[in-house]
Amino acid sequence: MNDAIVLKYQISPDDFTRAGEASSDVKGKLKQLGISPEAVRKVAIAMYEGEINMVIHANGGEIVVEITPAEIKMVLADVGPGIPDVEKAMKAGYSTAPDEVRNLGFGAGMGLPNMKKYTDDMKIETTIGVGTTITMLVKL
């Protein structure tokens, strides 16, 4: 679309304390654009969980957010290990996260279910040893 706004973020795997910076930046920009609070909240939560996953499971990656009058599209692409069994990974409570991650308040296996819950559409493309791309849509 001609009036799309595109935001791009590189997600670093090195510093867990910075995980979520991209999501909070997007939240701020959506607010400024006057997007409804419900949509902003959905995008913020879904993207934050996805961003955390990129840091804890996939060595970082890139997030592209595309905003049009009709929808907000988030594409989270990493070159991590891939997800062997997507159906299993989508189950609430399923997690391969190590205890260190759990001590940080994540790794409860709620990330992917949360992303699904807060978006209107979610697609996972993943190849073992190549990486994972998750595309999420929030309709406006």
């Binding site: 910076e21 909070s24 909240r41 969980e49 308040g105 949360n114």
Partner: protein
């Protein structure tokens, strides 16, 4: 109730945002150490009680528009965390009470869990 009432009920120490305690009125809270649970179930909660002490707590509060963070069981956030909260206008308190007691005291004082 106001955040001033909350502070009194918990005998909490205010780490940042002291100046707005009297004005901010809150009606519901949630308590958890798992940020994913907070992200999954929190709906318009104004207060988050947690025993977890890291920058992701501030980030979670920011993304959910939580106005006040209360660190329970004597957890002391470091200067970086307090600074992050300050920049985002999030009020931070700290109480020596444990999670269960803190939630119970606030519930008894009239603060509820809100809709899920």
């Amino acid at each position: 109730m106001t955040l001033r009432d909350v502070q009194k009920v918990l005998g909490a120490r205010v780490l940042t945002g002291e100046e707005s305690l009297d004005q901010v009125v809150v009606s519901s809270a949630c308590g958890s150490d798992m940020m994913s649970d907070v992200l999954a179930f929190s709906k318009d909660h104004s207060i988050l009680l947690t025993g977890l002490c890291n920058p992701q707590v501030i980030r979670t509060a920011e993304l959910l528009d939580i106005v006040c963070l209360i660190f329970v069981r004597g957890k002391k956030p470091d200067e970086t965390i307090i600074q992050m909260a300050k920049e985002r206008g999030i009020i931070v308190m700290e109480t020596g009470h444990r999670m269960f007691s803190s939630c119970g005291m606030l519930y008894q004082a009239g603060l509820h869990g809100g809709a899920i």
